[in-house]
Amino acid sequence: AETVKIGINVPLTGFAASDGKSALNGAKLAVEQINSSGGILGKKLELVVYDDQASPKQSVPIATKLIEKDKVTVGVSCSYSGATRAAAGIYQSAGVPYIAAYAIHPDITRAGDFVFRTSFVGEVQGRAGAKLAGDILKKKRAVLITLNNDFGKSLVAGFREKAENYGITIVNEYPYSIKDRQFGPIVARVKADKPDVIYATGYYFTAGPLVTQLRTAGIKATIIGQEGFDTQTFIKIAGAASEGVIITTSLDRDSSSKETSDFIREYEKMFNHKTDMVAASGHTAVKVAAAAIQHAGNTDRKNVRDSIAGTKLVASTGTISFNNLGEVIKNVQVQIVKDGQFRHFAVISDKKLLAPPTR
């Protein structure tokens, strides 16, 4: 039978495999959900998945292949920024819509009007972090521990941008690389800085050891993380040290939204693994694509693009719409670790603060 195809490039092998797997699982769950409720346009939805090892070198031919050989209607990137940015140009020039699930490089959507992103650009979330620290928590002295890649850098750029507005002094910033797990020197220095809040960017595998080591050294300052922390594994790694860590993210575990709670429940059932933000992003991206195709009423790529641009969808990561650049507009969820679980802490919905870039 004929199907509607969505193409996915995702790192399934190599260093980025764990994120790739989560994102792909999220996407698979979305397909499962859609198909079990009748598919779209009366056809089944099908994913065409290729492993890109998070490498731009591979995502380029993959994009070409998805467009030309597999004739997908929409492309979804479940990969990192480099691979996504390189592929975005291909999709744009072929006139095929492309949705980045969680890659945060600002230039991705600048490839053109066929490229969208369902996750926050780093700056937006960074600004939310600043509001959280200064406005909600009323902290004054911040230390930044920055993951030295596009993710960490853009988050921190946003944080810095708004810090002053909320009365925060940035005492110091310490960069570290994504491969670091030992933060002894940084921790020693942070201790001497005596901050009252620490804005730490990173992924769960760097954040877990980092938080443990900060607490071991007797540092009591509040730790603010972001969506990179957002997985149960983070809590497992850091154990008791993770209690009280606050993060900005897209996924509200205590959400009253049916879409979100269904996602969390069904994900765990289907994959026997706790869900995380990356999985929710993959899920959301596919849902957005599917809804747009349904809405367009056919698989004409140009029509689908227009329909994506006009999206207004309740997804697992909140209510989604796009601005003229293709950047997502949605609220930022604030979660806190309590008794070994992420719990609702606050929602930031300040439209002006969260406005994504428009050019």
């Binding site: 492993d51 490498s55 731009p56 380029v60 031919p61 292949k65 230039d107 490839a111 960490g152 850098k153």
Partner: protein, 287 residues
């Protein structure tokens, strides 16, 4: 067709990269684990220049030139340290390169450089351009191998001290090898940058250097056509092996390992054996 074009372009770029390393490793016997740095130098130079509005046709030689200069500087290191020490030093060069690029805002830092201008040849035109450069480099390599320079390289690769004792200025030859090799590495970097049109530090790291080296070794160090074939195959290996997706890297790693085990002299060794066997059979038959 576009898909095939993009694969062939990638292939051509990889062949240029591998042949350039072959000049250093295969011809002159100087092991280098840092080729990514020179490819990266070419890519960054051209990306910056064309980004600033300068023509691709100027950026291309500029990228080669700068990579070659950097290569000669590293070549000076090879005059001082040898063998495994050199291997690790060149590996250090790649990490240093990355470390510096990462922290330099004008190089895009961690974010890399996006929207690198199109050279304006069209996809097909670009592919033809890349493939003809690859062919030219292969021919040049073949020529070089048979020239007196190649002969002197052989001697240096074999035994540097003795080469000195028969009057060969191995320091100069080594610098030339590094200069030439890295200059062509720069070429492959330039071509890469304008093909993918996005570059970031990670694309030119240690893993990339090792990938190029494994093309050379699997092809058979020093064998021009062997290296060419190996680069062609390995560069699109991930695409070919999409169907075994989850096991792709496992197969790749296993393949590197088994080829080394069963044919340490690489493809050219395998081919050599097949031909000599075939040749023998023929003479058997006739005799």
């Amino acid at each position: 067709m576009e898909y095939e074009i993009s694969l062939l372009t990638i292939m051509g770029i990889a062949i240029i990269g591998a042949l350039s390393l072959n000049l250093i490793v295969g011809f002159c016997g100087q092991i280098s684990l840092g080729h990514g740095a020179f490819i990266g130098t070419g890519a960054y130079t051209s990306a910056l220049l064309t980004g600033a509005g300068i023509s691709f046709w100027i950026a291309l030689p500029a990228g080669m030139f700068l990579a070659g200069i950097l290569g000669i500087i590293v070549g000076f290191a090879s005059l001082r340290v040898r063998d495994d020490f050199l291997a690790i030093t060149t590996m250090g060069v790649v990490f240093l390169f990355l470390g510096i690029v990462r922290k330099q805002d004008f190089l895009g830092g961690e974010m890399g450089i996006a929207m690198i201008p199109d050279p304006g040849l069209g996809k097909l035109g670009y592919m033809i351009f890349v493939l003809s450069l690859a062919l030219a480099l292969a021919l040049f390599s073949l020529y070089l191998k048979r020239s007196w320079m190649g002969f002197a390289f052989d001697a240096i690769a074999d035994d540097e001290d003795t080469a000195g004792l028969v009057g060969i200025n191995s320091a100069r030859y080594k610098l030339i090898a590094f200069g030439l090799g890295t200059c062509f590495a720069g070429l492959s970097g330039v071509l890469y940058a304008h093909n993918v049109r996005f570059i970031d530090p990670e694309s030119f790291g240690f893993v990339e250097s090792i990938t190029v080296l494994s093309m050379v070794v699997i092809g058979g160090t020093g064998s021009v056509w062997g290296v060419t074939v190996a680069a062609a195959i390995l560069s699109i290996f991930p695409m070919w092996f999409q169907f075994i997706d989850d096991y792709k890297l496992l197969v790749y790693g296993g393949l590197l390992c088994t080829i080394m085990l069963f044919s340490p002299d690489g493809l050219s060794g395998i081919a050599g054996r097949i031909f000599s066997k075939a040749g023998r059979r023929k003479t058997d038959a006739s005799g």
